[in-house]
């Protein structure tokens, strides 16, 4: 009986410690932890592998989204246009851009075919609040791809604000499109374009 009690205490303290550990995790450990977990789930889930978008989105929303800073991402994609947008517009842009990125990320997951991911050596100087975690995606069929995560330290842990695939930032790749949309019809026109893109994708399912 006594040992049971001890076990219970140990388990519950472990559970309490876990979220704190996730917040304090070093950026490379955070990336590795999330990547390993997500891949393990996709590997075991035939639905996702055969293209079940709803399940993939749910997976991204529960496991990946909490570690992303979408406001910062939207700000980066907007570049200097960000400051010209009102608070309400910024909020709307962030929401639509989040939906777009989550869907893209989920789509990429449904294309998963036994790739493995290796972390490149990582070091962080004391007090540093910005980090880049570099990984290599080894494909069973094709060249290895460099996949880098830029993270920023916040009060509630490190948050990803950019992903680079083979040197292409998924966030700043939108900058020209956003800028030309804004040139042609203002920020509201960009919000509308994002909305209709998201709705079109939704109705396809």
């Amino acid at each position: 009986m006594k040992s049971m009690k001890w076990l219970f205490l140990a388990v519950s303290s472990l559970l309490l410690a876990l979220p704190a550990a996730a917040n304090d995790a070093a950026p490379d450990q955070l990336v590795k932890g999330v990547t390993d977990e997500v891949i393990a789930i996709v590997r075991a889930d035939k639905d996702i592998q055969s293209g079940n978008a709803k399940k993939a989105v749910a997976l991204v929303e529960t496991k990946v989204l909490p570690h992303f800073n979408f406001t910062r991402m939207t700000q980066l994609a907007m570049g200097r246009e960000w400051r010209n947008a009102s608070a309400a517009q910024q909020q709307a842009l962030t929401n639509e851009f989040r939906t777009l990125l989550v869907r893209t990320y989920s789509k990429a997951l449904t294309e998963y075919r036994n790739q493995t991911i290796d972390l490149k050596p990582f070091s962080l100087k004391a007090g540093e609040t910005d980090a880049k975690v570099k990984t290599i995606v080894n494909q069973p069929n094709g060249k290895p791809i460099q996949l880098d995560y830029s993270l920023e330290k916040q009060d509630n842990g490190w948050k990803v604000y950019d992903i680079e695939v083979a040197g292409v930032s998924l966030v700043t790749n939108y900058r020209e499109t956003f800028a030309s949309e804004i040139r042609n019809g203002g920020v509201d026109s960009l919000i509308k374009t994002l909305q209709s893109k998201n709705q079109a994708a939704d109705s396809k399912k």
Partner: protein, 235 residues
């Protein structure tokens, strides 16, 4: 054999010249001064791709088992290592050039004509170099963005680079014409098949597919010229 390579080079150069002359159709983007012309070429490409290239690649992907496709990819990647080595040498990276040559020798022999890539697991890293990157290293600016049907996105610099790549390409220089053509076709189909998963993701991601591919290409080339560590662009 040399003649037809030259033909391809002439074709790309002619396209390039046409693109430059069409420069009157300007847009707001300084990196893409002939956007109007490029968008037309892009639409031509999409047409060819949806009718010919993509269906063939899909069929290839459906018929060939993954290990065979990997073998084909490795085979052409191994031949490509020769050009990679030359360009690393031209870029003043003799150690990388030797490593590339080592890869080629190991994979061509122990890897059975390059079908197996045993150099990578042995720790000799694969590099990605071409003449366009070499010119970039030497200080050539990328120039205007150009979209060439079938060949895809390029810049002025990379179009000239492509002409040199083809000129030095061991496959395009094969003497036996039927073998050469078969290999060229196989390599093209295999490359297109490798891009099939990316297609779907781009479709999902892009608000404007033309611009998405253009900006992705420009970022990618910038990154390659600096071997993955480009200077951070000012915000």
């Amino acid at each position: 054999m040399r003649r037809s390579t030259t033909k391809i080079s002439q074709f790309t150069l002619a396209l390039c010249a046409a693109a430059l002359m069409a420069g009157c159709a300007t847009s707001g983007n300084p990196k893409d001064p002939i956007e109007g012309f490029n968008r037309t070429m892009y639409n031509v490409h999409e047409g060819i791709d949806s009718v010919v290239l993509k269906p063939v690649a899909k069929g290839y992907d459906a018929v060939l088992p993954d290990p065979v496709q990997t073998g084909v990819s490795n085979f052409f990647s191994n031949i490509g290592d020769l050009g990679v080595s030359v360009n690393n040498l031209l870029q003043g990276k003799p150690n990388d050039a030797i490593a590339d040559l080592g890869r080629f020798l190991i994979n061509s022999t122990f890897g059975i004509f390059g079908i197996l890539d045993i150099a990578t697991p042995a720790g000799i890293e694969k590099h990605d170099e071409d003449f366009g990157q070499t010119f970039g290293r030497w200080g050539a600016g990328s120039g205007a963005y150009v979209f060439i049907p079938v060949f895809g996105p390029r810049t002025t610099r990379d179009t000239v680079g492509l002409a040199f790549d083809l000129w030095a390409d061991p496959v395009a220089n094969l003497d036996h014409v039927p073998t050469r053509n078969t290999f060229l076709a196989l390599r093209a189909v295999n490359t297109r098949a490798e891009l099939l998963p990316a297609d779907k993701v781009i479709e999902e991601a892009a608000l404007d597919k033309y611009a998405y591919i253009r900006d992705g290409y420009l970022q990618r080339r910038q990154s390659l010229v600096y071997d993955g560590n480009p200077p951070r662009s000012a915000e």
